[in-house]
Each structure stands twice: as structure tokens, then as C-alpha cells.
Symmetry: none
Subunit: 205 residues, 4 copies
């Protein structure tokens, strides 16, 4: 499938890649179809042939970045030791978010658009796996007595998401408020450690 992709598939892919770059950078309104076509090295008309409209192309991009996340977020939970699994998860999110700025930005745009394209992109269940994994993890932790009995899966996940995602989503205003460069490795590592500590204290009985 990847081997023998024709010219058509190649064009389609390069359009998607270009679109991710442009949409992530400028959002739906700021993005220009011309620019996407130019970056993709494709004729503008092809965008309409393959994706129908600017909006549908945007939805394709949204689905693409979410699918990359899905591939990353369940693996770390596999660790037998529940506390180590949490720690690994924190790390995995920091790594993913740092390496996937276009995921961060697309999620932000999408929230500003009130998740209008979320369902159209077929993303309702995109994060069910991590929810299930977290449920299992908490059960194991409670059973072995390393986690509080009354922690709830939703709250843990929301804390986890908030403390990792927000660091990257608000990095520009926060760097100014904190008067330090939060993109630096030290700042990021320090924050990761603290988030891990935070969760540990939150979870322990």
C-alpha cells in the first residue's frame, strides 16, 4: 500500500501534509488554499478533486493528527507497576506534545471552532482506548493498594491532559507571564517532574 502508491496517492498525501502545516499555523480562516497547493507542489484544483472543499480538507487534517496521538498514548500504560505507568504516561505526553506542535494547535483551533468538525471527522471514539486503559490502570492500582480508592478515571485524565496540554498550548502567553522561556529543555523537564509529583501525591492513598 505504501510501496506501490501511484502518482494520485502521492499528490493526495502531499496535499494533506501541506494542509496540516498551513492549517496548524493559521487556522481555518487564516489558511489560504493557494498556499496549501503551492506548499504541496500540487495544482489547486486537485484539492477539490481529492478533498471536496477547504473545510473537508481541514477535517482530514484534524483526523490525521488525532490518529497520531492515538498511536502514542496507550503504550505507556502497559507497565505492570501502576505508579510507573502514570509516570510513563506523563513523559509520553510531554514528548508527544513537544514533537507534535500541530496536534496542539489543531486541538486549539478546533475548540475555538467549538468542535464543529470533530464529529464529521469521525473522532467521537478516538480517545476511547486511553480511557479504557486508564480505567484498567486505576483498578490495578486500587487493587494493589497504591492508589486511593476514590479516584475517578475522568478526573485523573482531565488533570493529566490539562497539566500537559496546557503547558504547550499556552506557552506563548505563559512564557511572558513567567518571564522565562518555557520552550527551553530545563523548563520543560522541571515542569514534567512537577506534574509527575503532583499526580503521584494526588493518587496515593
Amino acid at each position: 500500500m505504501e510501496q506501490i502508491q501511484g502518482r494520485a496517492q502521492r499528490t493526495k498525501n502531499s496535499i494533506l501534509r501541506a494542509a496540516e502545516q498551513i492549517f496548524a499555523a493559521k487556522g481555518m480562516d487564516g489558511a489560504r488554499v493557494d498556499e496549501i497547493a503551492e506548499v504541496a507542489g500540487a495544482n489547486k484544483r486537485m484539492i477539490y478533486a481529492y478533498y471536496g472543499s477547504k473545510e473537508q480538507l481541514y477535517e482530514a487534517v484534524l483526523a490525521a493528527v488525532y490518529s497520531r496521538l492515538r498511536e502514542c498514548e496507550t503504550a505507556p500504560v502497559a507497565d505492570e507497576d501502576p505508579r510507573r505507568a502514570i509516570r510513563a504516561l506523563v513523559h509520553a505526553y510531554f514528548v508527544f506534545l513537544k514533537n507534535n506542535p500541530s496536534y496542539v494547535r489543531m486541538v486549539m483551533w478546533e475548540n475555538l471552532y467549538e468542535a464543529r468538525h470533530f464529529d464529521e471527522g469521525g473522532l467521537m471514539d478516538v480517545r476511547s482506548p486511553i480511557r479504557q486503559a486508564m480505567r484498567d490502570l486505576l483498578r490495578r492500582g486500587k487493587a494493589t493498594g497504591v492508589f486511593r480508592m476514590d479516584v475517578e478515571e475522568e478526573q485523573v485524565l482531565m488533570t493529566l491532559f490539562a497539566c500537559t496540554f496546557n503547558y504547550f498550548s499556552n506557552i506563548h502567553t505563559m512564557s511572558r507571564v513567567m518571564k522565562q522561556d518555557l520552550l527551553s529543555e530545563e523548563a520543560m523537564n522541571a515542569r514534567e517532574e512537577d506534574v509527575a509529583l503532583l499526580l503521584q501525591r494526588y493518587l496515593e492513598p
Copy 2:
């Protein structure tokens, strides 16, 4: 001051209010100057007379929403009991963010625009008061032995901001992921309680 404001001041204000509504809803690129003028009940020309350009109007809006936050966020820290002050702060943020969706959205837009307008709007020190207040609060908490000695002001603030702001900023995608309406009062109260607990456990020795 509000009593005897001339026609000009009234027009200028109504433009700013309309602009906040539209910019918060659609961002810089999505907003239309025509629409702002219409909502303001003012002539489009007046926008340029009073604010110079669409971008400068945007900056004025950004400064306005931040100044509303500044008025709210330091008061709760005044409580003598450090633990109660933290709890009050969490509550204050939930209330503020719930009642000021345009603050949430403007901060999101601004981060997507890489804080381009932050400095122009004279906002570099807009959050210095809360930082100072938090420093004092932690000092008091450590002195009286109710807070850990090694907590850092920056980390506490980032956690606080992340756990409150993110709930509102990502509410649309999160509602879908969590398959529940996070805008509901119960969901919001539950989350507020949990964030308070989280911070308490994080801060205690």
C-alpha cells in the same frame, strides 16, 4: 466619569464591546470589521477613527479582557489561612472563567497568534500582581508549616492555571472525549472540588 461621557466615548465603548464579542467568537482572521460596526451600531469609519486598524482594535480588546482578570485574581489570596486562600483562588478562577468566556477565547487566539499582540497591548506585567501575591502566600504557608518547604511559586501557578483554564479552553473536545456535558453545573462543581483537592495534596508537607 461614566455619567458625563460624551457621544464619542459612548461610541468608542460600544465599538470595543462589539469587538470583544466578535473577536472572541471568530478570532482576528474570522472577524469582520463590518460585523463589528454593525453590532456596535456604529459607522465602520469610526473604528478607524478611534482605533486605527482592525489589528489595533484587536489589541485593545485583548488588553481589556486581561484587565478584567487582574481585577479578580488577587482579592481571594487575601485570606489569612493559606489553605483557605488556595481554595478561594481555585473558586475565583472557576467563577471568572465561567463568566468570561471571551477571556478564555482571547487568550487561546493570542497563543495561536504566538502572542504577537501581547506586548503591543502593554500586557507584559499584567499578571505580576498575582505572582507577587502567590509568593507571599507560599511564604506564609511555609512559615506556618502548612505547605511543603520546596514548592515553587511558578509550578503552583502553572498547575493552577492549567487545571482551571484548560477545563474551559478545551471544553468542546473534552466534552466529546468524556462523553458528558462539561458545561453542566455538576460537572463543573465536581471538577472544581477535585482541583482543590489536587492542590491541597500537592502543597501539604
Copy 3:
């Protein structure tokens, strides 16, 4: 009349002066009423109070610059010696055109506007004096035998106007074509001499 001019007359004059500057520089279409008011240090509304409209103000300026010319062009012809009178006239035009760039430009704009405002400004007879003066001059020159008998007043005037006016009106393109700065004193003096010679040879029997 100049002594005891009230505030009103002063405003009216400063508007006219500002208008000459702006209209000469940018023409009817390029000129901005706001800018004229600003340069005049007057309220924009006053332009309409005193002159009725932008176009009528333009006409007033046109009439003003022509009236300045009229004051200059007949005097030199007074010389008794016809040849000296011609020489003096050439000089007078060079001096006038050099010192009145706004005359040159207003005449150019007006020709491009197909002299639309010429008649409204009451300028039909503005140059009758010089025509009459030239007629007398030629008569005298023919009578004393220093001029050809068949020279015609119209042709002499057109040559005179063309060779003087055009030097200033086309000075920007001509400076580039001739690859020298025609605004320099040397270039201007040389040209004046040559035009004088030209006319002398043209007029002599």
C-alpha cells in the same frame, strides 16, 4: 483691506494657500480635503462654508495662480526696443516659472482635466493683456524694421510659451532623457540663452 482682515478672512486665506500647495502637488483626485484642512490649520467644515466644495476650491486656486502670472507677464514688454523686450520676456517667463512651480503644475492638471474649470474660474480673458502687448510689440518691431513682416502674434506667443513652459513642465522626464539635472542653474541659464537666440533668429527679417 489687508490691514483689518478679520478671523474669517484669515481662515479663508490660509485655506486657499493650503489648497494651492496640495492641489498643485497632487491634483484634484490625489488631494485630500482632510489634508488641506490640516495644512490650513482650519476645521474641515470651513472649506465647505467658504468654498462650497472641493471642486470650487480647486477653481479658486486655479484662478489665483493665473492671476499671479498676469501681474508678471506684461511688464517686460514695456521696453522701447522690441528686441530687448523679447529678451526681457523670455527672462521674465523663466523667472516666473521657476519661482511658481504651482502655476506650472496647476496648468498641467487643468489641461489633463481638459480645461474643465478654466471657464468657471472666469479665466477666459486672463491672458488677453499679454496678447495685446505682443501685438503692439510686433507692430513696433515691424515698423522699425527689426522684425520680419510676416510673423504672427499667435505663433510667436505659442513658441514663447512652449519653449519656456515645457522646460519646467516636463523637467522630470527630460532630466532623465537628457541625463542631466535640468533644475540646476547652469542648465537653466543655458536654456534661457538658447531660447532667446532662437526667438531672435526667428523674428529677424
Copy 4:
């Protein structure tokens, strides 16, 4: 070349033709892009696709009219008899200027704009051919003794340009001053004869 011009070239040409008409008539400031598009029978967007901006289109028009002149002005000088060549040149200019009113007007606008677009249009050397031709012509005339030894190429050209160009550039105000229609054939012929005479007397030893 004209045969097999595509649709694009045809559109581009018709825009240029329309632009020449409108810019010549109304100048840079007075011209409306909408009107040019309408006259060209083209979509307004195409103007920007082909020429980039109103100003660049203006420059293209300026270059176009100058290039038409260049094609006409050197040929007449080819005559072996220097005096006949001068006569032919006068005639050629009268014919050209009469038939190319948009050249006359564009040069006027351009001078009023202080030749701002002259260099951008790559016109610095557009009239070098005629200058060279005139230099040769004068040399021949001096060698054969039919021209004065001390005439200068620059002065002859300036006289020639002034006496021909000015007749057309100032025809509207001059018709009023002279109280006759200078556009009439008789007036024009009479003037041409007189200019020829003028130059002959100016050049002869």
C-alpha cells in the same frame, strides 16, 4: 506570434489596452481598477494576476506608450539631406502626437508624478536612439555647412520636443487663450510649418 496567442495573452493585452485608455484619461489617482476591468471585458482579479497592482499596471502602460514613440522617431532622421531630415522629424512628431493622445497625457501625468515610475518601467534609455540619431544628423549638417557649427544636440532636441509636445499637451488652455480651436487641421498645419521654419532659421549658419 499574434496568431497563436492563447486566451491568457489575449486577456493580458486587453487589460493593457483598457488601462492605457483609462490611465491616459484620468491618471493614476482618477483611474478605477473596476472600470479598467470592465472596459477590458476581464475579471478584476486578472489585473492582479497579470500585473500585480494598479501601480505596476500603470508602469506597464507607461512603458507601452513610450515604446510606440521609439518606433516612430528615429526613422525620419534617415534622410540624407540634413535639412529635409529635420523637416521630416517635425512632421513625424506632429503626426505621432496627434495620433497618440495617450502618449501625450501619460507623459504629462508622469511629470506631475515627478517621474516616479519612469525608472521602474525600465525607461532610462528609451530615448537614447533619437539622441544618437540627432547627434549624427547635426554632425552631417555641420560637415556639409548647412548647420551652424555651435548648435548643440541637447538644445535642438529640447526645442523640437517643446514646440511639438507642448502644442498638444496644453491644447485645452491654449485654445481658450488663443480663442481658436487648435485641434483643427488648419491650425495644426500652420503651427507645423511655423515650427519647421523656426528650426530652420535656428540651425542655419
